[in-house]
């Protein structure tokens, strides 16, 4: 298991990186934390001619409040998110989700943008970004655009990133006061690709009614499942109830389209979709109503 030969560049600015991507197009692959790409290289399942290593671009690693959102640079290490006071204050759901990504040793290198761009449908960060209604900012040498998760995630390991383009940041709207969130996933072993997981965000009004709901699932299809519409329809405007939570879980369960693999048949994943949805919503309700 040795990586194939490749040409290597480690630009120190975003513009340089984008120039390289423009120049090499499809032949180039971006190396961020490498926790997904390098195994593919080692197995020779990926054989890029050019690797553009963005680890020297210091400008891409940041966590900042901008325009009512928490913006996270693509190169921000997962471990940094886990430890960030800004994240735990403004987007605790992301912090909770990140803690379930791999292990400390992979989070020390693995990046937020790398996980998103890899688009593994079991990725925790993707589910959290989906639940919170985040936006993904892409740049190329000539243009910049911002996509919703629905636009960004195309299918298993496929995103809307075009050759020459790069994911430079993700922006997570900071939900208002009264918001409670919870991340829940089920995996056989800690650090595994989860069998299913759910990220839930609920905003409670002063009267205890749910005003806004976000829900993102992982592992239950070929890309993150956005359950916000279901959760909003069944939860918003009411005080939280077991029956409503159960109704969301059931609706999610019947709406997802899970895949089978050697770890789990599709029907079990479908069942788990309901379980993790309920657990995540219950967790958020508990946190949101415990004062």
């Amino acid at each position: 298991m040795r990586p194939p030969p490749f040409s290597y560049a480690d630009p120190s600015t975003v513009d340089e990186a984008l120039d390289l991507l423009a120049q090499h197009g499809d032949d180039a692959t971006i190396l961020a934390g490498g926790q997904s790409l390098v195994p593919l290289l080692n197995f020779r399942l990926a054989q890029p001619a050019v690797i553009v290593d963005i680890n020297r671009i210091a400008d891409l690693a940041y966590i900042e409040r901008r325009n009512g959102a928490l913006e996270i640079g693509t190169l921000t290490r997962q471990r940094a998110v886990e430890r960030s006071a800004a994240v735990s204050e403004a987007c605790p759901l992301l912090g909770e989700a990140v803690a379930d990504v791999g292990h400390v040793q992979t989070r020390n290198r693995g990046t937020v943008g790398g996980s998103l761009a890899h688009a593994d449908p079991t990725a925790e960060i993707s589910a959290a970004v989906t639940a919170l209604g985040g936006s993904l900012r892409l740049r190329s040498a000539s243009a910049e655009r911002t996509l919703t998760p629905d636009e960004f995630f195309v299918s298993n390991l496929m995103t809307a990133i075009e050759p020459g383009e790069m994911l430079v940041a993700v922006a997570l709207p900071v939900w208002p006061a009264g918001t409670a969130t919870c991340f829940n996933e089920f995996s056989r072993r800690q650090g595994d690709f989860a069998l299913a997981g759910a990220a839930a965000a609920l905003t409670f009004g002063g009267d205890g009614r749910i005003e806004r709901a976000g829900l993102g699932l992982l592992g239950v299809g070929d890309r993150p499942f956005d359950g916000a519409a279901i959760a909003s329809e069944l939860l918003c405007g009411e005080k939280p109830s077991e029956a409503a939570v159960q109704a969301v879980a059931e609706r999610v369960q019947s709406s997802v389209d899970p895949l089978s693999d050697i770890h789990s048949p599709a029907d079990y994943r479908r069942h788990l979709a309901g379980v993790v949805t309920r657990r995540a919503l219950q967790g958020a309700i508990r946190r949101g109503t415990s004062g």
Binding site: M1, R2, P3, P4, P5, F43, R44, F186, R188, R189, Q190, G191, D192, F193, L195, D261, I262, H263, S264, P265, Y268, H271, L272, V275
Partner: protein, 775 residues
């Protein structure tokens, strides 16, 4: 000091070098000018080879050599021999490289030798093999079906061998039974997966022509003999050295094609050649184990007394019969009755060929499979006749006064005779340790609250060592330092420490005066190796006898120097002294000097304070144990959490309880892994879907319990140490006990556990199906 070193929890002598990164594993040996090999491997489960073209690979940068079987052996290529044959075995051996057909994904087709592994792998992409894919046989069932693709012309129905064996009158036992309980159990394919894969480095000495082979193995002397035979060389022209080995668990007790091909390549190119197996190669090509389908029946009296048993066992052997292919089914079929009084038993073995990596022993070697089926069936039988599973076992377990107990069964490795032990007392101790009665009361109460708690019991015996011999040499140098050399070939068990304790016990010298080395054919001419839990018994006994004789010889030298009779000389803290006259004494160093060539020793005495001993026996001791596990199953996910785990063991005399307990817990980890997680999965085309460590799931620190251990020490009468092996007991019991506990947790739903691994999806399905059936 005195005779106290045996039984002490001595810190291991091996550890400082391993803890500081100084341990020398095979890939840590870096010879100048080394070339690196990569293997071109079959991407097909079953395919005919129409042609191999290595010309582009040979021309690639850095490539020094590339060869296929016909390049290496234009005439009559050798095949890997079967070392433990049984009557009727049809020939289906493997060539060192595929000849005209590949029969499993990963089978080696050609070797590429280059200046670096990177370049060898680059060149591999240029090699061209013209395959004609054939239908693959992915299951034993499909292999035995009429009209199935035939994998070897010599084996027309894909059954390489079948045999039956038994004792008593089984027909009568079943005819007269009050109850007959039967079921079919399936244990999945899983295997050792040591953290260090295989690896070999070979080089030829330019001066004397000797071929030196460093290999990550378990039986260097056998490897030397087989390598010599396959390459047409003399044994004395090959030196096999096993350096530090990063785990083996049985899968390195094998003669792999690569073991022979790397030395062969080194001879071809005249430079050192190294090959380090990568993880993908490991999963695809290491010998696999377990995978048996077992039909088992038990005939009972009305009170639960066992009248007899019947077993039919299908063993998936993969694409070829390799060196030890018969061992798993043979040990399984003879392990079915186990520690119970079963006087009528009949077993049938059917060995089926499929398009998978060949099968061979892995920790437990047939024991886990047989014990899983038996202990599962006994729980089902007890449930069916309304008896408590512990009481069922108490009724049928062999009493202490039955020892020694000859089961009348013989495996390819030994007769099955239980040499010592009090089995009922052990069962009681384990039941007490878990508070069996208390648990049952809590279980019923918790079930009403929706909590699914279960308790599993597994009672087992284990063949605890195997002959025919092991070697040890104990030598004292002129400085009084003791060097031990053994033909044993451990992989991290701490055997060096145990042997040093045996020597320290006899010679009464501090452990830091003793060094132990293993597994080098140039240091000791004969040796067998490390497998079948044999080190303590075989190498331990050889070391004990050798060190006793060294002490006797030292006393004889002392008597000569002191001008006294041997009877008047006593051994005291590493010195020989005249009884009652402390100042009339000689140190071990003085005695070694006197005993040396040219020294002042008794007339007629062979020079040198050194003894080499071969402990020879064909009698295998049997260890006994009872494991009890408590689990909780999460109702809505099927997730299994191990709450408590009690392990009672009787492995005879303990040399180092700390090491023994490490073996017990380590074995349990592998049994639990098999019960809950691990599986080598092939699809219908013979492609492996678990050829990496994300998909082949080894247990992590969060998946395993803290084991509560207790021991009894019933010395074995079969060796001077009184020892029995323990290396495999945990792997044998750990699998069955978890399966039993899981069923116990969900049995009230009607669910029955017949196969493993019990991943959450599988447990959930069992509950769903049972629930659907009952509603």
């Amino acid at each position: 000091m005195g005779a106290t070193m045996i039984g002490e929890r001595v810190k291991r002598l091996e550890d400082p070098r391993l803890l500081t990164g100084e341990g020398g594993f095979v890939d840590d040996i870096q010879l100048p000018n080394t070339l690196h090999a990569a293997f071109l491997r079959s991407p097909h489960g079953n395919a005919r080879i129409r042609g191999i073209d290595l010309s582009a690979a040979r021309a690639a940068p850095g490539v020094v050599d590339a060869f296929s079987l016909s390049d290496g052996w234009p005439d009559a290529p050798p095949t890997i021999p079967v070392l433990a044959p049984v009557d009727g075995l049809l020939p289906c051996p493997q060539y060192l490289l595929a000849r005209d057909q590949v029969r499993y994904v990963g089978e080696a087709v050609a070797v590429i030798v280059a200046e670096s592994r990177d370049l060898a792998e680059d060149a591999m992409e240029l090699a061209e093999v013209d395959y004609e894919p054939l239908p693959a046989i992915a299951t034993m069932e499909s292999g035995m079906a009429s009209g199935a693709e035939v994998l070897h012309d010599t084996v027309p129905d894909n059954v390489a061998v079948r045999w039956t064996q038994g004792i008593g009158d089984v027909a009568e036992a079943f005819d007269g039974a009050a109850h007959v309980v039967s079921d079919t159990f399936r244990m999945q394919r899983y295997t050792g997966v040591p953290m260090e894969g295989r690896g070999t480095l070979a080089t030829q000495d330019p001066v004397n022509g000797e071929l030196t082979v460093w290999t990550s193995g378990q039986w260097p002397h056998t490897q030397r003999a087989l390598t010599a035979a396959l390459l047409g060389l003399e044994e004395k022209s090959i030196r096999v050295i096993q350096p530090e080995v990063g785990g083996g668990f049985g899968v390195k007790v094998e003669l792999y094609p690569e073991d022979v091909l790397i030395p062969f390549a080194a001879l071809r190119v005249g430079r050192p050649v190294k090959w380090i197996e990568d993880r993908r190669e490991h999963m695809l090509t290491v010998v696999h184990a377990r995978e048996m389908d077992i039909d088992l029946s038990v005939a009972l009296e009305a009170d639960g007394t066992i009248r007899g048993m019947r077993c039919r066992l299908l063993s998936d052997q993969g694409g070829y019969f390799r060196t030890l292919g018969t061992v798993n089914p043979s040990l399984a079929i003879t392990s079915v009755p186990g520690p119970y009084r079963i006087e009528n038993y009949e077993g049938e073995v059917v060995c089926v060929l499929t398009n998978k990596s060949p099968s061979s022993p892995y920790r437990g070697a047939g024991g886990p499979e047989a014990v899983f089926a038996r202990e599962r069936l006994f729980d089902m039988a007890a449930r069916e006749i309304g008896m408590d599973p512990a009481a069922f076992r108490e009724k049928n377990i062999l009493p202490a006064d039955a020892m020694p107990y000859d089961t009348g069964l013989v495996s390819v490795e030994s007769t099955v005779v239980f040499d010592s032990g009090d089995f009922p007392a052990g069962l009681q101790r384990a039941l007490d340790a878990i508070d069996y009665a208390g648990f049952r009361a809590e279980q019923a109460r918790d079930r009403e609250q929706g909590r699914l708690r279960g308790l599993g019991i597994c009672v087992y015996t284990q063949m605890a060592s195997v002959g025919p011999y092991e070697s040890a040499e104990v030598r004292v140098d002129g400085g009084g330092k003791v060097a031990v050399v053994s033909g044993a070939a451990p992989q991290g068990q701490g055997t060096g420490t145990a042997l040093a304790q045996v020597v320290a016990d006899q010679l009464e010298v501090p452990l830091d005066q003793i060094t132990v080395t293993f597994a080098d054919t140039a240091r000791i001419p004969f040796g067998v190796g490390t497998y079948a839990s044999r080190n303590a018994v075989m190498a331990g006994s050889a070391t004990l006898v050798a060190s006793e004789r060294v002490r006797d010889k030292a006393i004889a030298v002392a008597a000569h120097l002191l001008e006294a009779s041997e009877a008047d000389v006593e051994w005291h803290e590493g010195t020989a002294r005249l009884k009652g006259v402390a100042e009339k004494s000689h140190t071990l160093a003085e005695l070694a000097q006197a005993a040396g060539p040219g020294g002042n020793r008794p007339e007629g005495m062979e020079p040198g304070l050194e003894i080499r001993h071969y402990f020879e026996t064909l009698d295998a001791p049997f260890a006994f144990g009872v494991h009890i596990a408590e689990v909780e199953v999460e109702p809505e996910t099927g997730d299994v959490d191990i709450k408590r785990y009690v392990a009672f063991s009787d492995c005879g005399r303990l040399i180092n309880p700390m090491i023994v307990e490490g073996q017990i817990v380590g074995g349990i980890a592998q049994g639990v892994g098999g019960a809950l997680l691990e599986e080598l999965v092939y699809d219908e085309d013979g492609q492996m879907l678990s050829a990496n460590l994300a998909d082949y799931q080894l247990p992590t620190s969060l998946d395993l319990p803290n084991v509560e251990i207790s021991h009894e020490e019933s010395p074995s009468p079969l060796n001077p140490l009184g020892a029995k092996g323990i290396g495999e007991g945990g792997a044998i019991a750990g699998h069955a006990v978890i399966a039993n506990a899981v069923e116990d947790a969900i049995a009230h739903t009607g669910a029955r556990v017949r196969e493993t691994p019990l991943r959450p999806a599988a447990v959930w399905k069992l509950m769903q199906e049972a629930g659907a059936a009952s509603s």
